[in-house]
């Protein structure tokens, strides 16, 4: 192996994930300590630590290309793994790594750039006859052009940012009258989030399912897919729960969509791990959305059903090796569900609830895998993200996976912040979820209650409230005051007080 030392330009659970695989591959790892979380759990998994905790600049080090490269050179690493988020999809960063003779564990800067720009990605998809939603040919420069194109496509349409996702710079326009206002809002938002106000327009597909395919490619031009993931359970475009595979796909549709995913990856000479996202409408038509040129949070469910370590594959591919298996070797075994347990208050619209984890007890079971970056005493810091842990549960089929998930959720014990656990406990009991008929509109439209509590839980809480009231007010010992104590003053003091009047 040429790669002997890797710098992890990330933190939290993904840093730990990468370091775990690197250790198995006998590769040394370097992690960066920051001022924000100098005692974070991920640091204890690294072989070497670069201490950056003196640096209090506002830009997190994981977003600072020059600093990361400098650390990499200082520590003499062979490769950098960017994880997800931060610089993972920054083509300029990938370029800089190459310039400095550091292997970037990910695809080529060119592939990152092309797929990172949504309008270019669309053009490539069109050129390769990959089905996608009708839309503008390129970026839209003003609201008049937007209105014109929209009327050609037919409302409803969706305005999207060319340079980023996650719901920002995105607006659904249902009526022509709204176009001017929403165009401007979307454009401004895109500029603020991605430093690029460019937006484009697509036909808006109502209530689709979000299906994505995991891709692996090597530098020899081999590209295969590892099956799909069902990611329709989202809130404001943030994924909450993912499954592999999806009950919406049969083997024929899987083959078809998989073929398209591979095709577009090949079109940009893709290597390393990547994800091709599709929307699936109620008529089982699928449309290419975008490609994510990085390892994703939910890569875990694909690993659970294929048995393949994706981080290991990434490192090998970066090492110049070719993929040792072909498409026919990929078999999906059983079913996996991942719940993203975040420090969020479900009752307050999933508002982040940063704080310190006081007690953390996680279940261990052959069916359960937990990827986490926190332990008892860790602080969930608002400036990073609110993730506490990923709970991944396996089953031999979807029904069993849901059943195992239900049991696992009851065994997770977190005290110190509010979590999304009650949401998942409700979800696994929800009929529509169990039927698999949910779409991306599920959370906003089909749910009236966002959390689960069993019929006794409220009563037990009521009992506790009553018990406290009784203890504080109605018992002999409620107010155990010693009035004599106040009367026992030192003679010096008593004398002075009495004589002062």
């Amino acid at each position: 192996m040429k790669i002997k030392k890797i710098l992890i330009a990330n933190r939290g659970e993904i840093a730990i994930r990468i370091m775990k695989t690197a250790r198995l591959m006998k590769i040394r790892t370097v992690a960066v300590r920051t001022a924000v979380e100098p005692n974070a759990m991920y640091l204890s998994y690294a072989d070497e630590i670069f201490d950056n905790s003196e640096d209090i600049s506002e830009i997190p080090v994981f977003l600072d290309i020059d600093k990361i490269i400098a650390i990499a050179l200082n520590k003499g690493v062979d490769a950098i793994h960017p994880g997800y988020g931060f610089l993972a999809e920054n083509a300029y960063f990938a370029d800089k790594c190459i310039d400095n003779k550091i292997v970037f564990i990910g695809p080529s800067p060119d592939a990152i750039y092309k797929m990172g720009n949504k309008t270019i990605a669309r053009k490539i998809a069109i050129a390769n006859k990959i089905p996608l939603a009708i839309g503008s040919d390129g970026n839209i420069s003003n609201e008049d052009e937007a209105a014109e194109i929209a009327s050609k496509i037919g409302y409803p349409v969706i305005i999207k940012a060319a340079s980023g996702g996650g719901g920002r710079g995105m607006r659904i326009v249902r009526k022509a009258e709204e176009m001017e206002r929403l165009f401007n809002i979307a454009s401004k938002e895109a500029e603020k989030a991605f430093n690029d106000p460019s937006v484009f327009i697509e036909k808006y597909i109502e209530n689709p399912k979000h299906i994505e395919f995991q891709i692996l490619g090597d530098t020899r031009g081999n590209v295969i897919h590892l099956g799909e993931r069902e990611c329709s359970i989202q809130r404001k475009h943030q994924k909450l729960l993912e499954e592999a595979p999806s009950c919406a796909l049969d083997s024929r549709l899987r083959e078809e969509m998989g073929m398209m995913a591979v095709r577009i990856a090949k079109a940009v000479n893709y290597y390393s791990a990547g994800t091709v996202e599709f929307l699936l409408d109620s008529d089982r038509n699928f449309y290419f959305m975008e490609m994510n040129t990085r390892i994703q949070v939910e890569h875990t469910v694909t690993e659970a059903v294929t048995g393949i370590d994706l981080i290991e594959q990434q490192i090998r591919i970066a090492n110049g090796e070719s993929i040792k298996f072909n498409q026919g070797d990929i078999k999906l075994n059983g079913w996996a569900i991942e719940c993203r347990i975040n420090a969020e208050n479900v009752q307050a619209g999933f508002a982040p609830d940063p704080g310190k984890i006081e007690y953390l007890n996680l279940p261990s079971d052959p069916n359960i895998r937990i990827d986490t970056g926190v332990q008892t005493g860790s602080s969930i810091v608002a400036s990073y993200d609110s993730m506490i842990a990923k709970l991944i549960v396996r089953g031999k089929d979807r029904r069993e996976a849901i059943k195992n998930c239900k049991m696992a959720l009851d065994k997770v014990w977190i005290k110190g912040t509010k979590t999304t656990l009650p949401f998942f406990r409700m979800l696994v009991r929800n009929q529509k979820f169990q039927d698999g008929t949910f779409t991306t509109a599920f959370l906003e439209k089909d749910l009236d209650k966002y959390y689960f509590n069993s019929e006794y839980e409220e009563m037990l809480a009521a009992w506790l409230a009553t018990k406290l009231f009784v203890e504080e007010n109605l018992e002999e010992s409620s107010i155990n005051v010693d009035f004599k104590n106040g009367k026992e003053l030192s003679p010096w003091l008593l004398n002075k007080r009495i004589n002062q009047f």
Binding site: I479, F483, N485, G486, K487, W492, L493
Partner: protein, 518 residues
């Protein structure tokens, strides 16, 4: 005595007549409104079987001129007496609305005055439970003079014994001055109200339509006027809360406050304290989170919670001993001081001083509230109240500077030079003449005007200011504060400091009284 004797029979008959007066039927009159009877309130306040009623059988005074009917009832509409509340002697009176509307007649007033005098003689707290239609019209000016006596007694006892009013019904016209003069006012929502001039007169004179609740209900007094310190949704909880409240207070101004057995359940060193104040100086936090981490578990009893919420006041315990807490609240109005909060703070501090309750001040104040409104309404003299109160107080005083402490507000919040005994600061403290933005704008006005990138330069200068001038270590090194401490050990530090100050005594200058700005 022969049980069958005539005198004993008369005695029994009288007792029966009294019982009949307080029958279930009478009680229904109050219950149907959701109110308790005077007797029920007394029984709820006092420990079982400890209440001794006085003057239960007095009858209303003879009227000089017959005008309107006067019920021949026992007690003249008020129950007075003494008993034990959680084992301590307390005097109380409870007006009875079912008897002549609880109106104050000559005899009614005399009973209250009697109990007030007794309380003062015994050096015990006195509770007034008010539920009265006001002065008894039939008795004319004599009933008004009854009020005057009651007010005078309150004033004579003020600062000597704790006096608490509980408003559980109407309190209108002159009657409202009673609660205004006492130390604290508890009020029950929806079924009680206080105003000087009622809605009828308001309608007549000003043609304004307003309900009893809108003019002087509990919410209004708790939130807007500040007259009511504690309000509760029902009478039982009002009285239960009052009992809890009393456990913090001494019986008189010579004693120390009582102590509660400390179960040692609050840890002395708590790392959570380091996490409460955010790194971003413009981000707010709830100072009550800090208070609850410092004081004994569940011991913080907030006063005037809804009034001037930008300053938090209340009683708490440290290792079982009562302290008074005054704290700026950053999440309301950025924690600035203004007219209402200065008044609230000053009154609270003076009560603590009168009754030997040590004061803990938690400071995070960016200054006074700016604005024409505040200036024209006299923030100058109202702000001075708190300054006066702090300096005048001779009880142990400790200040912890949590974050901002700028300018005049820094001095006002019990600074060392104003007579504070110990002043500690957290590492997040910023002590300066003024905030960084203002200071930089003044000192570097020229440079900023000439700079190509003023925003960038300002940011740099603000950071420099925070690091070099406003940091607490400078104040520490020059002796203006005593120590910069690790937030985690705050409780330990405070307890040890208060222990050192437990026998503090300062001679008060010999004068009739100071001339505090009012």
């Amino acid at each position: 005595m022969d049980i069958s004797g005539k005198s004993y029979k008369a005695f029994i008959a009288r007792q029966e007549a009294l019982k009949k007066q307080y029958s279930q039927k009478q009680a229904e009159k109050q219950h149907s409104k959701g109110k308790l009877t005077a007797l029920e309130r007394i029984r709820l306040l006092f420990d079982t079987d400890t209440f001794e009623e006085i003057d239960a059988f007095v009858t209303p005074a003879n009227q000089p001129v017959e005008f309107g009917k006067v019920e021949r009832s026992f007690g003249d509409g008020v129950i007075v007496g003494h008993g034990k509340v959680n084992g301590r002697l307390v005097f109380a009176y409870a007006q009875d609305f079912t008897i002549m509307g609880g109106s104050l007649g000559v005899v009614h007033a005399k009973k209250i005055a009697k109990i007030q005098e007794m309380a003062l003689k015994m050096g015990s707290p006195i509770i007034g439970m008010m539920d009265s239609g006001g002065a008894r019209i039939q008795e004319g000016v004599a009933s008004l003079s009854g009020y005057a006596t009651i007010f005078q007694n309150i004033i004579h006892s003020s600062g000597i014994i704790p006096q608490i009013s509980v408003i559980m019904g109407p309190a209108a016209g002159g009657a409202v001055y009673s609660p205004a003069l006492t130390d604290f006012v508890f009020m029950t929502s929806h079924t009680s109200y206080m105003f000087v001039t009622g809605p009828n007169v308001v309608k007549e004179v000003l043609n304004e339509d307003v309900t009893f609740d809108q003019l002087g209900g509990a919410e209004i007094h708790a939130r807007k006027s500040g007259v009511a310190n504690m309000i509760y949704d029902d009478e039982e909880n009002t009285i239960l809360a009052l009992k809890k409240f009393l456990s913090y207070l001494p019986s008189n101004n010579v004693e120390n406050p009582p102590t509660v057995a400390d179960d040692n359940s609050t840890i002395d060193v708590n790392e959570k304290l380091r996490d409460v104040v955010p790194d971003d100086p413009n981000k707010a936090y709830d100072v009550k989170d800090i208070i609850n981490l410092i004081v004994d578990k569940n011991s913080f009893f907030e006063t005037s919670e809804l009034f001037a919420a930008n300053l938090v006041t209340g009683f708490a315990r440290l290792k079982g001993k009562t302290i008074g807490v005054v704290a700026n609240q950053p999440k309301v109005l950025a924690g600035v001081l203004d007219i209402d909060s200065s008044t609230k703070g000053a009154r609270f501090i003076r009560f603590c001083d009168a009754f030997n309750i040590p004061i803990l001040t938690l400071e995070d104040v960016p200054g006074f509230l700016p604005g024409v409104d505040q200036e024209h309404s006299g923030i100058i003299r109202h702000g001075a109240k708190m300054l006066f109160a702090y300096s005048e107080a001779t009880v142990p005083k400790i200040t912890i500077i949590l974050r901002k402490a700028y300018g005049g507000a820094f001095i006002v919040m019990n600074s060392k030079n104003l007579g504070g005994d110990f002043s500690f600061a957290w590492p997040t403290a910023e002590i300066a003449v003024m905030g960084p933005d203002g200071a930089v704008a003044i000192l570097y006005r020229k440079e900023l005007a000439e700079s190509k990138n003023p925003a960038e330069l300002k940011k740099e200068l603000v950071k420099k200011y925070r690091d070099k001038i406003a940091n607490p270590f400078i104040a520490d090194e020059s002796g203006y504060i005593d120590e910069v401490i690790d937030p985690a050990v705050t409780r330990k530090k405070i307890i040890s400091a208060f222990n050192a100050l437990s026998n503090k005594w300062v001679k008060v200058p010999a004068r009739k009284h100071g001339n505090m700005p009012l």
